[in-house]
Amino acid sequence: MNLNDKISDKAPARIGFYICHCGTNIAGALDVPAVRDYVAKMPGVIVARDYKYMCSDPGQELLGKDITEHKLNRIVVASCSPLLHENTFRKALEKAGLNPFYFQMVNIREHVAWVHTDKPGATRKAKDLCSAAVRRVKFHKFLEKKKVPYHPDVLVVGAGIAGIQAALTMANAGKKVYLVEREPSIGGHMAMFDKTFPTLDCAACILTPKMSAVKSHPNITLWTYSEVAKTEGSAGNFKVTVKRKPRYVKEELCVGCNDCIDNCVFKEPKFADEFNMGLGKRKPVYMPFPQATPHVALIDAETCLHFKTGKCKQSCAEACDRKAIDFNQKEEIKEIQVGTLLLATGFEVFDAAKDPYYGYGVHPGVYTSLEIERLVNASGPTNGEIVLRDGRKPKSVGIIHCVGSRDAKTNKWCSRVCCMYSLKLAHLIKEHTGAEVYNFYIDMRTPGKMYEEFYDRLLEEGVHFVRGRVSEVSDFAMSPEEEGKLILRAEDTLAGFVRRVPVDMVVLSTGLTPKKDSQTVARLFNIGRSPEGFFQERHPKLAPVNTFTDGIFIAGCCQGPKDIPDTVAQAGAAAAEALALIDKAYIELEPDTAFVVEDTCSGCKSCVPLCPYTAVSFDEVKKKAVINETLCKGCGTCVAACPSGSIKQNLFEDEQIFSEIEGVLTND
């Protein structure tokens, strides 16, 4: 059989059928020999075998050997999902000299063995599905994968540590990278942290050099205060529209001297400072934080007197001798061509007010962990002093773990980082204030290099650990020592009684949640989300940075909660996957495109408006519809709509589907 022999489309089918046991995964749930024998009797089936692991090397070799020995020209493998191993078997066909598309796979694991308990019912279903595949494969045609050039440029969305790492890796490999960040500065959440666990090295010290590297890298185009508005195209050829919000300061002129800020008509900072979680104040013209990158001021139109009243003497503009302030700056739209998209859009911290029993927003002594990060930070609103809102130094601090995590009422998942950062904060609080620190935890989860050791260290430092979920934080005293304190009530499940622990300060270890607009973003890029709203990876184990859309990768907490080491590792992995695609320089497309049979097309134009990719057009000379193969994505919508049956879709031709329908209905 010649790989390039189209005539074999018409040769009588000689089918090889293989059913996989998948150990006991399949063989345990249905009668594999019965299915094999059933298929063996079907017309056209030359070989029917069962094998322990079809995807293994011996399994594939068995297939190849049969193709040669029995001159097979069609192959059906009944095993797992085609989304998992279709390519494996196609390659095996190719290796044996058979066109890889003379192949059909039957999903009897995910769709049968794993989901049914009724063995005869499962066996019957497997027979039907196999019968369908055997009938279908006879109609399979010789096809070739289409090669399309792959645009080498990359767009990274989100410039937290994940986006920064990925962008730098790819830029260092010589690729042109566009890095788009929604906030005025890059750095993400990591820039807000004080120290990092378990090594306690300062977050800024390790992040800032990377941020500067991004800014100065010749291969990186950095667009902060910008958002992706639209994406079109597919792997290798995306067209992306980026919206750049006006910051009213010319980025190329500003040197970050802060003169404008010093000269603002507001003499004192008056407005809640986002970077410090509202614990500090800023002016309408401000620098997000001292290490902000780019180191460029911006004006917040919401609070700026000029934008609010139109009556401001614009002392900031006067003060700027580089004339960088521009009140007339408008939103800017950029269109770019890239081959790869890498999403590192990060997470959002659980909104602690959603758990009313902990009194966040009600009792002033209740803080979120991120607020403590800012309080404890030397460049934070209190210059690193941990004090309560009224200026007192807390003598006792309670840290509540799993706020918005592992909770049926809010979020079910474990946020993975809270145990460790709670330990870190406990250490820092104790170090800064000498207060008694109580950790209320459900389980201590410290899996990671030197993590458990860090927990041991905290135990030795005299931090208290109470195993129990806090039921509420209240301010009513039941005893004199509770007066004026916040009382944490929890069942100590190790001691076996209910504790009331009075403290001055409560820290809520809030969990990680998907971004509020994760659905909009997922739609924007046409990727999936898992039920809780994080972006869906292609495979939880084997394709953790891929999405179901080719050419789009994910890294960091947008995929799920993870700590900095894991985020950086994942960002590197995503960058490597992207580089592999880019360096191949072309992308092979599944040949499932549609085509118009010109002879029989009546030119009724019904199909033309149905294509969202404008792949279908009308040839005004021939008066027929034509499909541009490179634009066609293979959905088949036009095929189903063509009223005269003149459009066909490769791999999903009418005859193939009709024979499948017939096949699945063979057994009564």
Binding site: P356, D475, F476, A477, M478
Partner: protein, 287 residues
């Protein structure tokens, strides 16, 4: 504004003062009430745990009668009734199997219920239908008292939709309108001891005591509540609490009584005399 009125057993018995004051206040506010004819037990919160279907059927009968009587919103001032009736509505709409059983029970008595009648609480009606402005206009004798508004557990959780389930504010707003100063009181929805005052008094009394003590500590002149059981526990057991945990004095009024006083209605008509703990202080101040 016309409503059906479901008093329930408490308002005809231990909570008579609640009914007396509520009827007076509703008259003053122009809230027209029509008592459901031949109403029966609300289904009772504890009985729900003994025989759910019977309990639902009992509540269902009240609804069926109400539907026959015009199907307007029902006002149920007693917290337990409010909860039982609301729960019944939810169950009937969410669980078709239970609904079928209740339907057949009602059917055997020739009754039918669509599941669509709304159950309201006086607080909800006064705030959202009547409005604070009208209340303010009616105030003749601003209370000038410091009050701890205590809501109890049943009217804000889990079915009500007119207030925050953990930190309710509706009664505080109303008392403010009546010229009182609500004190910050974070035990608004804590347990009053409930029905275990009778069975496990040592546990229940401690709970009730902490409510009273906190009110004292916050400087309240009195507590106001919308719940007959809470009022009964806090008011009726004050003697025993004082004996066990030290002297505690705190008048406990229905919020309708406080409102009535502000409207200038005579204390007798409002059943103030039925309070067991001394309400003299209140009357004095409010005079």
């Amino acid at each position: 504004m016309k409503y059906l009125y479901y008093p329930g057993c408490s308002l005809k018995g231990t909570g008579r003062a609640y009914e007396e004051s509520w009827l007076e206040v509703s008259k003053a506010l122009g809230v027209e009430l029509e008592e459901i004819e031949d109403w029966n037990c609300c289904g009772s919160t504890p009985y729900m745990g003994v025989d759910e279907v019977k309990s639902l059927a009992l509540a269902g009968r009240n609804f069926a009668l109400a539907e026959r009587q015009g199907g307007m919103d029902i006002i149920a001032p007693c917290s337990a009734c409010y909860l039982s009736l609301n729960k019944t509505n939810h169950v009937l709409n969410d669980y078709p199997e239970l609904r079928a059983k209740v339907d057949s029970a009602l059917g055997s008595a020739g009754l039918k219920y669509s599941g669509r009648i709304k159950v309201r609480h006086p607080l909800d009606v006064i705030l959202n239908d009547v409005g604070v402005d009208k209340v303010k206009k009616l105030v003749k004798k601003p209370l000038g008292l410091k009050l701890a508004a205590y809501y109890g557990c049943q009217i804000t959780r889990p079915y009500s939709d007119f207030d925050d389930p953990v930190r309710p504010v509706s009664m505080d707003k109303l008392m403010e309108a009546a010229g009182a100063k609500p004190v910050p009181y974070s035990m608004k929805t804590k347990c009053c001891g409930g029905s275990i005052t009778g069975t496990v008094p040592e546990a229940a009394l401690e709970l009730a005591c902490s409510l009273l003590k906190e009110a004292v500590k916050r400087g309240a002149d009195a507590m106001v509540t919308p719940c007959p059981l809470c009022q009964f526990n806090l008011d009726g057991y004050q003697d025993r609490i004082s004996k066990k945990y030290g002297k505690t004095e705190m008048p406990v009024l229905y919020f309708t009584q406080a409102l009535g006083l502000a409207f200038g209605i005579s204390p007798e008509k409002l059943g103030i005399n039925r309070c067991l703990a001394s309400a003299e202080k209140i009357l004095e101040i409010s005079r």
